[in-house]
């Protein structure tokens, strides 16, 4: 009985939480940008890829934590550059123009990776902290997985506090809702935009540093190919305007995928986890169009 419980419930729950946490990290970055500027950021995946490259290309030359910091800073820099060179010049254009511009940023970064000779290559990614932390109901939980969950929880809490409790957070929200009035109140819009894009870049970088060790490797553009759509799904599930919602959306996504994958044989229903996610997404949007924790505004 305990074996069945471990296999069909406990293991997918643990994995779902861990994977959902990783997706949630990315989703928080998406929500951050959407919340502050109403832009769907298609470049978010490449923030993660840049973070991964920054980390894994330097980790053999500098201490591990320094390399991790370099990865996060590289992604942060990419976020800032995106804001300064692409978003700001297009700030007064329709939102769809900005959306396409972020997609162009992603394509540019991917093309740069290919031009640099990374196309088709695999890059090894060892865990920040190796080994299993504990075994619970037959489920092995690694230190890396614990780090991911803790970082996600901390990020979600910090951002929720930032938007809810600080003047700068309120200024960011005010900017997204009424930029003209915000400017009249003395809020410097460009600084707010830089802050949010930098934060989104840094969050992507954290995901890029933490997630590849789950499979021990990553490929160029993996942030876009492997993470972006799940992150968007999580953000929409949780509510595009809610940072805690992105957190919850990531967890729901991870749990639904894993519980389905473990309990519905692919031989009987190929692609069952994706179908399950689609069903949950549709149900949530029909019942609660703003997402699980999202609100209008």
């Amino acid at each position: 009985m305990s074996g069945v419980l471990a296999f069909e419930v406990a293991r997918p729950v643990v994995l779902g939480v861990v994977q959902g946490a990783g997706v949630g990290l990315m989703a928080i970055g998406l929500v951050l940008i959407y919340k502050s500027s109403r832009v769907f950021n298609f470049a978010a995946g490449e923030f993660a890829t840049v973070g991964a490259f920054g980390f894994y290309l330097t980790k053999s030359h500098v201490p591990f934590l320094v390399a991790a910091l370099i990865g996060v800073l590289a992604a942060l820099g990419t976020g800032l550059l995106t804001e300064r060179l692409v978003i700001r010049p297009l700030a007064n254009r329709p939102r769809v123009t900005l959306l396409v511009a972020t997609a162009a940023v992603a394509i540019f970064v991917i093309a740069f990776q290919f031009l640099a000779g990374a196309q088709g290559k695999l890059f090894g990614a060892k865990a920040l902290v190796s080994g299993n932390a504990f075994r619970l109901v037959g489920v092995f939980v690694s230190w890396q997985e614990i780090v991911i969950v803790v970082v996600l929880a901390a990020s979600g809490a910090a951002l929720a506090w930032f938007f809810g409790r600080t003047d700068l957070g309120l200024a960011t929200l005010a900017t997204s809702q009424e930029p003209t009035a915000a400017r009249l109140m003395g809020i410097r819009l460009n600084r707010v935009a830089m802050l949010t894009w930098g934060l989104a870049g840094a969050l992507g970088g954290v995901a890029g540093v933490l997630l590849p060790p789950l499979t021990q490797n990553f490929t160029p553009a993996f942030g876009t190919t492997d993470l972006l759509i799940p992150a968007f799904t999580a953000a929409v599930l949780g509510g595009m305007t809610s940072v805690p919602g992105a957190f919850v959306g990531g967890l729901v996504l991870g749990l639904v995928q894993n519980l389905t994958q473990f309990n519905v044989s692919s031989n009987r229903l190929p692609g069952a986890p994706s179908v399950a996610v689609l069903v949950v997404l549709v149900v949530v949007l029909v019942v609660r169009p703003t997402g699980i924790l999202g609100r209008e505004a």
Partner: protein
């Protein structure tokens, strides 16, 4: 007071675009359905036709016929190629009227009665891609897209042909290479380019089941000979112009079950990429495993393009307590990318099963190089292969390192394939035609020392044995564990 809800309207407003989205997804998915791309390809090919290039053998006059008819009919123009032996339809087996159509115009007589019959090795037929001193060969392979980089496909594409020079009945082979991106649609596009733009004589598949099946079917539809490693049987066993140069996966499954049993395992897990083209390999192996007394502990499929998270979950499912204890062998039948993610994720969960399988690409050194540093293969990984590991090269063919000093295993795989192909081209004689090539290979055996001997007397699947490669993480490569094994 509760405001009245516009209840009847909103669900419909939302459901309509959702249904539209689902319909669009279904339509888009049709493009991924097995065979759809091939069907599309056929039409285009027939329209473009090879007819313009078909010249009825070296001595023959230009085939008449319309381009479309020639493409499927197999050029019935007899030319001077020996009376009644001439004929049509060998390659594609398509339009039985091809002979009659081709027999018109300048080509004299003979071809008319040959509908459906294979041309003799010396007879007339379609000699597209063959000149006085060269034979154009088209190779498609996954240089990208499989998750493991393989630029060596391009670099090693013609090392053997360059080494042997103009010794194929006085001709040298000129290779055209196209990256198929490990994608069947891209593979068909690549093969169409090779046939329609580069006007190759024949096509060679370099790896990847779905790509090989897609291109083999396309090649058959336009009457172009196609050779590749053996993969599935189901999609290609009726193609007259297709030759498998190694055992099919289904046949290898029987040997693999014996091999796993011999390694001392009583349980096996099979995890495959979810493609129709693995179905016969899947059912064949499960049957064989049970017949040798192996317990199939798990039998699962993953999406062919599964992401890293899906493979991480699959790894967790794979890593049962028995697998962690080393009691279970795992047979992965999937792309290198999926396998690297699967084994890597398992290693990330401190789980190191013993892997054993048959996929050609899983036994490439790039896979070992990706996985060895993670420790994922520390309990062993063995894969059946049509070519030996680099450790055995000097023993089986010292010329390889002379011709290609820094050649890798992909280079050696191509070397072996081209060596075997050379023997087959030679057998077709100086008067080389597509129909003649098919006729010359059919029913014959070839043994060149690198690939296990092939014997086409029983059909178009010629493989008779396998080599076994095992991961040697001390060298980050696969080494030869056994050669020319016919049973275990």
């Amino acid at each position: 007071m509760t405001p009245s809800r516009p209840a009847p309207a909103w669900p419909r407003r939302r459901l309509a675009p959702m249904l539209g989205l689902v319909a669009a997804l279904v339509l888009a998915a049709c493009g991924q359905k097995s065979g759809v791309h091939v069907a599309a390809g056929n039409g285009g090919a027939a329209g473009a036709g090879n007819g313009a290039a078909i010249s009825a053998g070296d001595q023959g006059g230009p085939a008449a016929g319309t381009p479309g008819a020639a493409a499927t009919g197999g050029a019935g123009a007899a030319g001077t190629g020996g009376a009644g032996a001439a004929g049509a339809g060998a390659g594609g087996g398509a339009a039985p009227a091809g002979g009659a159509a081709g027999g018109g115009a300048t080509a004299a007589g003979a071809g008319a009665g040959g509908a459906g019959a294979a041309a003799s090795a010396t007879g007339a037929g379609d000699s597209t891609g063959v000149s006085n001193d060269t034979i154009a060969i088209g190779i498609h392979a996954p240089a990208t897209g499989a998750g493991a980089p393989a630029p060596s496909f391009d670099q090693g594409k013609d090392k053997y042909f360059n080494f042997i020079g103009p010794t194929i009945n006085g001709r040298t082979a000129k290779v055209f290479f196209e990256d198929d991106g490990y994608n069947p649609s891209q593979a068909v596009a690549a093969c169409k380019k090779l046939v329609q733009v580069d006007h190759v004589f024949m096509l060679v598949g370099g790896g990847g089941t779905d790509q090989i099946v897609a291109c083999a079917q396309y090649a058959a539809s336009v009457g172009v000979p196609y050779v590749a490693e053996g993969v599935t049987e189901a999609g290609v066993n009726t193609l007259k112009s297709y030759f498998a140069e190694s055992m099919s996966y289904k046949t290898q499954g029987t040997l693999l079950a014996q091999y796993i049993k011999r390694q001392g395992f009583s349980q096996v897990e099979m995890i495959r990429g979810n493609t129709q083209n693995f179905e016969d390999a899947h059912s064949g192996f499960i049957t064989a495993a049970k017949s040798v007394g192996l317990q199939v502990a798990r039998d699962d499929a993953v999406p062919k393009d599964a992401d890293a998270q899906t493979m991480s979950s699959e790894a967790a499912q794979m890593c049962t307590l028995d697998a962690r204890a080393g009691k279970v062998a795992v047979y992965p039948l999937m792309s290198p990318k999926l396998f690297i993610n699967l084994a890597g994720a398992a290693a990330g969960q401190q789980c190191y099963p013993r892997y054993a399988g048959i996929g050609i690409t899983l036994g490439l050194n790039v896979v070992a190089q990706a996985l060895c540093p993670t420790g994922a293969l520390k309990n062993g990984a063995s894969f059946f292969s049509p070519f030996q590991g680099l450790d055995a090269v000097d023993q089986v063919d010292p010329d390889f390192h002379k011709a290609y000093p820094n050649g890798d295993d992909i280079g050696f795989a191509l070397w072996g394939a081209e060596k075997l192909l050379t023997a087959q081209l030679k057998a077709a004689g100086r008067n080389l035609t597509r129909q003649g090539f098919v006729a010359a290979v059919q029913g014959k055996s070839f043994n060149t020392g690198v690939y296990p001997a092939v014997d086409f007397s029983q059909g178009h699947f010629g493989g008779t044995a396998v080599h076994v490669l095992k991961a040697d993480c001390g060298r980050s490569q696969y080494v030869t564990e056994a050669q020319n094994a016919r049973s275990f």
